[in-house]
Structure formats: C-alpha cells, structure tokens
Symmetry: C2
Subunit: 151 residues, 2 copies
Amino acid sequence: MSKDALPGLTLCNNAMLRRAARKLGQFYDDVQAPSGLKATQQGLLYQIHIGGEPAMGAIAAALVMDLSALGHTLKPLIRDGYVETFADPDDRRIKRVRLTPRGLVKLDEAMKLWQVAQQRFEDVIGKDKAARLRAALDEIAALDFDLPPAS
Amino acid sequence: MSKDALPGLTLCNNAMLRRAARKLGQFYDDVQAPSGLKATQQGLLYQIHIGGEPAMGAIAAALVMDLSALGHTLKPLIRDGYVETFADPDDRRIKRVRLTPRGLVKLDEAMKLWQVAQQRFEDVIGKDKAARLRAALDEIAALDFDLPPAS
DNA sequence: CACCAATAGTGGTATATGCCACTAAATGAA
DNA sequence: TTCATTTAGTGGCATATACCACTATTGGTG
C-alpha cells in the first residue's frame, strides 16, 4: 500500500479542529497583540467579567477546561494585576475570581481589538457560516461521550 | 445558575473553536491513551508517515503550525525513538524526518485506537455533520486574512 | 570571488493545557 | 462527635505552541 493512497489527516475531526484552532488563534492573537493580551487571556477575562465573581470550578466548567489548567492560566493575569482571587466566605474550599479595576480597563481595550478580529473573520468566511460553525462547536463542547453501560 | 442571558463567549469564533478543541482533544487523548501517544503525536506521526520523508518546513506548513513549535513537539518523539531526522543531501539547511520501524509499529497501534475514537465521535455527532464540520475547518485553515494591499 | 538577502532550523522564553498526587474543607453517616 | 467520602484547588511535571533572536546554508549580484 503506497503512502500516496492513504487519506490525509483531513479525515480526522480532532486534527482538523486543532489545525483550525491554531490558524484562527494566530489571527486573533495577532490582531489583539497591541493590547498585550492573548486571545485566550481576553476570553478568560471576559468570562470572569460576566460570571459575577465566579468560582474557579465554575469558570473551568464554562470553558470546558481542566481546573488545574485554569489555575495555571490565571497566574500571569494575577501577576500582571488584572484579576484577583478571594475565598468564598460560606465555603472556604471555594476560591472566587474577579477583575481588578485595571483588569476591567484592559479588557475594554482588548475587546475593541477583538471586535476587529471577529468582524474581519466573519467578513472573510461569511456571517452565516460562522454562526453555523459556532453552533456546531458549541454542540461538540456539550457532548457526552460516556458509554451507557453498567451504572 | 443560568447566566445564559448575557452574551457569553458563545459569540467568539475563536473561543468556541478552542473550547471544542479542548473537549474533543480530551476525548481522543483518552481513547488513545493506551498507546502511550497523545492524539497530537499520533497525528504528527501520521503526517510524517504519509509525507515521504518530509522536510520539517513541509510538515509545519501542512499542519499550519509554527516551525519552531514543530521542532519542540518532535523532541519527545525522537527521544522515544519513534522518529529520526537526517539532513537533505542536496540542501543541508533542510532537515528531513521519517518514522523508525518502532515508530511505524506504534503508529499502527495508535491508529486502531484512533478509529475507535473517530467512529464513536461520528456516531454521536452524526457522520454528515462531522464531514461538514471538517470541510468548514479545512476552509478556515486555508484562509488568508491579509488585508488587500490595495495595489 | 566577495557580499548580501532569503531560507531552514535551533534554543530560549512564555503561555496553554492536561494528569496526577496531595491538602484542606465540607458532608454524610455511624 | 468521629471518621470516611466527596469536593475544590494547588503544585509538579509533561506536552502543545508561539514569537524572537541567532546560526548555518544557499543563491543571486556586482
């Protein structure tokens, strides 16, 4: 069997997803670079902002992200003074997160650039297609792969 | 706790893409774990396999990945003896990559698990929808965001 | 030939993410 | 109340990825 006959990685849903994520991530990062925030950081700040002093676990769940990964990602943002954490008074296991005033300003700044990137992407790909894509991606993020055997 | 009233990050194409990539990546990784390879590594081995001793730059281009990122990602695979590199005799700047016999065996093993993950995902999401999704993702990976140079 | 610009990779540094082992705090019995 | 269990985070380690500065080659030019 010749290698040339083998199907490319175009068939792998996961590989395609990652590849597109790299491409789009580079684009959004590029546009948002002047703010000093990566697109991921801007998204995280936004999530915290609209979350109402969310618990770390809540953020991680919303972003379908490992809790420890969230903790690591948060560190540069805390170091730079954009977010701060505090223990929930009713349950000291819970650590809540909020933006600092400085973080709020920075988020504002980054959001303006985000709009530019978002707009340009949708101009290029088409608004409808983008909406359909997001719907599909949302569905994937919500999937449950668990096999339904004994329980 | 439904904060779905606010314009969540569901609107950001990039955030949605990353989130779905995390989710799907975790699933594929999980299924492929018994092989000892991450899904990304399996994809990379596969790309090398079908590439015919590709140059590093060619791999990076195919995967829409930074060249230096590829170099770093390759290191564990070289360390574990799955791939090896050699200089192109006609152009010593170029470094070509190939699978070792051991790498080929490992790829075979991982591909069997990949099929399981791939199959299960498509069972859950629907084969048509998966195909359409891959097409959209392929399109994104091929986009050119450069502003028209107004020449 | 001598030089300079373009090309291909390397290494360092930083963020993004995941898993695992471990700690602390709350919970649910016994 | 006491103790096992569950829940929420932390820290360490490893891979994934990007950008930048730097090196080694190759090619084109005067």
